[in-house]
């Protein structure tokens, strides 16, 4: 669904003539050495940065979409996009409202449940800043799961997670893909995803791929 050819200049050409096509059920693994530009690539796809040339197109039900932000959910590498002084319910509700979802409490609790965050003490009035790294990441993944979008852009999703959370995430990812969704993944640890990956793209330090 996304076919893109993109070069991007930052201070220099980070990648050159990169293209990939992702269809329903596709999980693309983006690899390459440290600092080569994998996260930047994902940022470009997410719409945070503009490519120097090339384009990204998204087609749904054979119609081209103009604003792809409505169909993509981005998970950054070392941050979670959470308001630290608010609690988990307020955070999830805010982000889901921006997508046009009107969720009542039970739907939000249900979203928190698989990640072990549904405990009332953790949930109500407990500011996110008190969460551990892994718990914040799990909340971000809960938000990901809640979003009714076909495309997931995952930058080191397993960062800070324990084994149990990794298992939960693997399962949610599998379900997402089987529903017809697709995902672009950057991850140091590939073990959990081995059987789900359908394609790989390497960004070499020369910039071509």
């Amino acid at each position: 669904m996304i076919s893109n050819l993109s070069f991007k200049f930052r201070h220099r050409r980070l990648f050159n003539d990169l293209s990939l096509t992702a269809g329903p059920g596709d999980l693309w693994h983006i690899s390459g050495p440290n600092g080569v530009g994998k996260s930047t690539f994902l940022s470009v796809v997410a719409g945070l940065l503009n490519p120097s040339s090339g384009e990204i197109t998204l087609n749904l039900a054979s119609k081209q979409i103009l604003d792809r932000r409505a169909h993509l959910e981005y998970l950054p590498a070392e941050a979670n996009g959470l308001y630290l002084k608010m609690d988990s319910v307020q955070n999830l509700r805010f982000w889901s409202q921006l997508r046009g979802l009107k969720l009542d409490d039970s739907a939000i609790f249900a979203a928190l449940e698989p990640w072990g965050l549904n405990h009332p003490l953790l949930r109500d009035g407990f500011p996110i800043e008190k969460y551990s790294t892994g718990m914040k990441r799990r909340l971000a993944l809960a938000r990901l799961d809640l979003s009714p979008v076909p495309g997931w852009l995952l930058d080191e999703p397993l960062y800070g997670l324990d084994q149990q959370a990794i298992t939960v995430f693997r399962e949610r990812l599998r379900q997402h893909l089987s529903r017809g969704g697709f995902a672009l993944l950057i991850s140091h640890d590939l073990e959990p995803f081995r059987d789900l990956i359908t394609g790989a793209k390497e960004i070499s330090s020369r910039g071509s791929a």
Partner: protein, 231 residues
């Protein structure tokens, strides 16, 4: 080792310098002595052209900003930064000459008339622009931010000027720096016009030189970032 480009710059520079010398000859030998103010008034020939150059730089800033925004071009931002620097230089010159002129003529170092006040505020804006430019990392984000600021500054200057003018006319009779009004001798007028002309060309040339320097500096900077990735 001089390239032909260096030689060309040298020639242009010499030409400009001679224009300036010519202008100052006009100032001292051609324009007559003012009855009221004496020889001091000649500082006007430095003050008014500087003011025009300072405000003209804001126009240049806006033009480059709009172009940079349209084309998402970081190179054009180097020119914009150049105009801001030159603008700052000329605002300071205007304020200094205004102050020096004011002391023997009216007895005060500073007066809150509309032009000087606006020039002062413009100096602050240029300084703020340069600080902001320096504190952002190079890239499309900086281009966008500084271009928008450049446009905002240019749009705001006439508004500030008008509001201060209206405010001043309420408080006291304008102790405005006289251009001589209707009794300006043609010699004075011509000297003034030539001064404005020379100053603006000089400012444009400074922007050109400075713009190229900034572009070279930024290329060096981006080359150093490139070596980060090549490791």
């Amino acid at each position: 080792m001089l390239t032909s480009e260096d030689k060309r710059e040298f020639v242009i520079g010499t030409l400009l310098q001679s224009l300036i010398i010519l202008h100052w000859c006009m100032v001292f030998f051609f324009a007559p002595v003012d009855i009221h103010q004496g020889p001091v008034y000649r500082i006007m020939f430095l003050h008014v052209p500087s003011a025009i150059a300072a405000f003209g730089s804001s126009l240049g800033l806006c033009v480059f900003s709009v172009l940079a925004l349209r084309n998402s071009s970081e190179r054009l931002m180097a020119w914009a930064k150049g105009t801001a620097e030159v603008g700052l230089l000329f605002t300071i010159l205007t304020l200094a000459t205004g102050s020096i002129w004011g002391r023997p003529t009216w007895g005060t170092w500073w007066t809150w008339d509309a032009r000087l006040t606006t020039t002062f505020l413009l100096a602050l804006l240029y300084a703020g622009y340069l600080l902001l430019y320096g504190s952002l990392a190079p890239g499309p984000g900086r281009t966008r931010v500084c271009a928008v600021l450049g446009i905002l500054i240019f749009a705001d200057v006439p508004i500030i000027y008008k509001s201060v003018t209206w405010w001043r006319t309420l408080h006291q009779p304008p102790s405005m720096i006289r251009e001589g009004g209707s009794t300006m001798d043609p010699e004075i007028l011509w000297t003034l016009v030539s001064g404005i002309f020379v100053m603006c060309i000089y400012a444009a040339w400074m922007v050109r030189v400075r713009g190229r320097n900034i572009m070279i500096a930024e290329e060096i900077e981006s080359a150093s970032y490139a070596t980060l990735g090549a490791r």
